[in-house]
Symmetry: C2
Subunit: 246 residues, 2 copies
Amino acid sequence: MRYCMTVSYDGTAYKGYQKQPNKKTIQKEIEEVLTKINGDQKVAVHASGRTDAGVHALNQKIHFDLDKSVKIDKLEDSLNKMLPDDIFVKRVERVHANFHARYDVKAKEYIYKINMGEYNPLERNYIYQYNRQLDIVEMERALKYLEGEHNFKSFTKTDEEKDDYVRTIFKATLTRDKYNINQITICLKCSGFLRYMVRNIVGLLIEIGEGKYKSSDIFDILRAEDRTKAGKTAPPNGLYLNDVFY
Amino acid sequence: MRYCMTVSYDGTAYKGYQKQPNKKTIQKEIEEVLTKINGDQKVAVHASGRTDAGVHALNQKIHFDLDKSVKIDKLEDSLNKMLPDDIFVKRVERVHANFHARYDVKAKEYIYKINMGEYNPLERNYIYQYNRQLDIVEMERALKYLEGEHNFKSFTKTDEEKDDYVRTIFKATLTRDKYNINQITICLKCSGFLRYMVRNIVGLLIEIGEGKYKSSDIFDILRAEDRTKAGKTAPPNGLYLNDVFY
């Protein structure tokens, strides 16, 4: 029986989603709990993709198999009782046997939060504390230029070797919080994300907002297919995997 | 020279504001840093009042004396460079020599945040995860009854011996977040708070919202002057010292 769960987590205390020897990771916590629930028979889980250390998720999708059919409500309750309080299973669903949380992804959406106002210690792990003003209009222009199909090699990890760096950005927006004009949220919905792609895009956007680059520099940077042309990498703490589409 | 600073902090990692032997407290962190800045000559600080373990502050007021006059900007910068990232000095002001951050308080305002919706691991230290619906209308009624001058002995710590339990609540409101109808904020502005008073009031309000008490039971509970009549104590994580008035 294959199940898919929707999980939210606070990435602050973890070395990222993906299992690594002797490291505290989201995947390890979830597999350990599922294995216990499964009568100590090992359960392996497959997420829509990894998230880096310090990155959060609001709706991560993770599939796994259990030998026997279980009551969904009971499974959800057991998971949430046994998981640490910074990981929460929002729901579990039965899915067909060939569903795959990673291979079947049609699009993913990330959001990135920035505080341009005064430093707030209560937000430090959840909103990037940039604490200065940015040229929002120029950043919005740059986001528009990013929409569509492009080669995003300039925005991935330097040593990331891939066959294909072409992805389609369906949506690239910037919104101001209605209560707090100093808080902005960048939202990117894409056919798939390369490693560090959101943080590298946001890093460049911030430099565009600072006036170090012009929004129209985006075209040359995309064309260069060269990471060294594309500015800084934004820190992980403002980043959330917001949704996964199948 | 007397100075007063406005400080925000994330209380999650601390055993409260007030110094205690061998415990991590806000006061200890601030006094250590100020003492270093003062050339290792001990500086004692005086806050508007303590906050309990896990309780946050958005505008705590703290006064202290320095032998010599200092540049305010430089002092603010040094403090924020040396303090841990969960404590932030918003500003430092020169005050007259007989100002006292505690004795001169005219009123204080606390807010308490409750999430009635689904558990959110990202909010767990900042918003009480009640995760069920409450009867908001009945809670608002109870808040109205609390306004004015009353004896609040029923709402303080059982073993708290005081000469005077009479305080004046100037404002007692409940607001719903405009974006998230499941998030409510209770705000209490009072001439002074007894120990655990906000958490005990919120604890009772929640039980009123659950239907275990009626809003009009407030009158009997106040009259009883007896802690055992007044319901539960709400957890500290949703509570913020919001402002201090002089």
